[in-house]
Amino acid sequence: MNFEDNKGLFVEEARELLESIESRLLELEQAPGDEAIIDDVFRSLHTVKGSGAMFGFEEMTAFAHGLESLFDDVRKGRLGVTGEIVGLTLESVDCLSSLLEGRDDEAARARGSIESRLEAVRRGAEPAPEADAKPPAAAGSSATDKAGTAGGSKGIVPIAADDPSEAGLTNVYRIRFRPDADLLGRGVKLENLFSELAELGTVVAVADASRVPELDALEPSSLYLSWILTLSTTASEADVSSVFMFVEDYAELKIERLPVVDAEGKPAVPPIGELLAARGALERDSIDEIRGRQKPFGELALEAGKVSKPELEAALAEQRMAKAAGQERENKKESASIRVRKEKLDYLVDAVGELVILQARLRQAATEAGLDEFSGIAEDLSRLTDELRDATMNIRMVPLDESFSGFPRLVHDLAAQLGKELNLTLRGGATELDKNIIESLKDPLVHIIRNSADHGVESPEERERAGKPRAGTITIEARQQGSRVEIEIADDGAGLDLERVRERGVERGLIDASERDPERIKSLIFEPGFSTARQTTGVSGRGVGMDVVRSNLRRLRGDVSIATERGRGTAITLSIPLTLVIVDGLLVRVGGVHYVVNLSQVLECVDEPASGRAGRGARGFIDLRGKTIPIVDLRERFGLGRGDERADRRLVIIDDDGSVVALWVDAVVGKQQVVIKPFTMDLRQIASIAGATVLGDGSVALILNSREIIKTLRRDERAQTKECT
């Protein structure tokens, strides 16, 4: 991995940190006294700043420094959390984001104003002579009242200066750091890393130069040094670890927190001999022997050649710091995950996809060859491939929280922009989806939320008149339904005015004036440029957005539906397949063409009954154990002709989210694992086909979009009913 790769990794990490800061700030707005959130924000800002410096984001680092100082004031109780501070920090996070993404002009425009306001806020943090020494948590109304009397900026609450108990929270860490020889070639600047560490407290660095070779063997740009760093700090172990976030993969790193109090809570000051033994630098047996020499132990150990000078120096530093440290705080946090670039994962999935196809070919060849041993090997390979496929697909599954994380900020900003009161409820964030799908879902979700906030939820006054709470609620809930995930975005607003939608549809010539089918009318809002808004706002109303929702969903082989009730609200449900890449399918043949039905939807396969079928095509039905199931003739659906009427055909019974239909096919070939290949634009237009796949013999099969087939069937049924009436 070179410098650019590492820089890319940093950008990715920093994006996540900024997102996390944003969501924590919104939580802080609701709980202004929550010290854990304040600490979290401070830590994240500190990491953005420190890591930014390591990768040359100097402007970003300088800007983050100001913000970090603000939160340091908050953390130390010199400032209370106010709406102004939260708002200003959110703006600052946007600015940091612009700097991170290289939108320098945008950042420059915002930066001047933000920095002067930050400065003004921080001026308010200077302890006022008559200020009450109250705990920092007070940021409610009483705290805000105090701002005026303290003479600070509006909304700023100067409160007690330093927390006297802080000195008691000091910990001492022993950090063994042995970088890989090529670390500097990755663009890492160790000086910045060490100085970032020094910002956490007092650090003593002792370098071990014993591996530095003589000049003839020295590769000057390689690193041969290693360090033992002793750090005395009030920061947690996670904070200390975060300093090494971008180098830990390229170094041997061990961070140990040392006990600074004994079992009785008294300062623990281990003798230097014990310390050296604990560090593995000295045999315990040697301790008494050396003690007998009546010199300072360290000196004696050094003279005796039992320890190296760097080890002793580091141990002495540790001892000094342990004396000063008072209270032990357990905050051990180990990371059990690794970060992998998405491109690498995509490559892995592609490779597994190819393996699946190859395995299918092998199995087919084995069957055709009729060799038992060959078939056995092919079966074993097949099992292994299945496991590999599942494991690989599982790696790509990430929780929807990732997609949800930006929504609190979005709703917060929309509320301010529209002058509405909005609550956001998120449920089911742990539901997992393919990473690529999650990324594609962000835009549709944003469009729907904007629409809900703008057109769904009424103004506080209207809501009061309607007997509703002033604040509207938007609820986003995710849940897994078989091989699909559903995401419902519901609001408790006014609901769709279907009559208005219908009128608008008629005006635009999208529907006939006699059209009354609510499903058809509701679907109009997904038409490009369709809007019932009487005026365009900065948020929505241009009719751009909901069509994007539908087109994005189609690309994902997903579906969108609407439920609405006048005065009660609207719920839009997105239904998306769990993964886009490999599925278990049932291979069928219709008119000489192979099709794949998603196996998770197949209930059973039955022979075409001699009787009980009321007719052919979409108008036919089968009576299956007393249940009437509509038949879809795939020959007819895909214009493949009627075929041999006398030939035996089969019915594949499928269930798509409660809708059961029978697909009429020529033959059922068998179960097949298929790798879904992307379509060209032209083929994407065929709604009943979700994709294509390559079979074991190299031929192509089309993957059926069962949901779309059922929808078309329902549409046909409604049309027939209309005709009859």
Binding site: L184, E191, L218, P220, S221, Y224
Partner: protein
Amino acid sequence: MPVTLINDTTIQTLLVVGPATVAEIDELGDAFRSAVASGAPTVRVDLSGLGKLDVTFLQLLVSLRATLARAGRSLSCLGLGPDHPARRQAAALGLSAAFDGCGGQR
């Protein structure tokens, strides 16, 4: 050129001017090797013109000192006052020993 080698029969002087970071380190390494190869009993490094440095330069000095010491030769170092920023940087990296014996006078 970040480094100039001044030949003398008994003392080889390396005059380091400007930055001494990973970008210049290969060139500095070559010059240091030449100074050692000359066989002069003493190698002197003049750091009075030293600019920005990083860990690679400190490591190079450590290596030079060890190389000379093994051959029974000595390294002298000058031009680095007690308050020179390079000393603070070396201390922060735990490598103060790299400047052992470095005087402030030329």
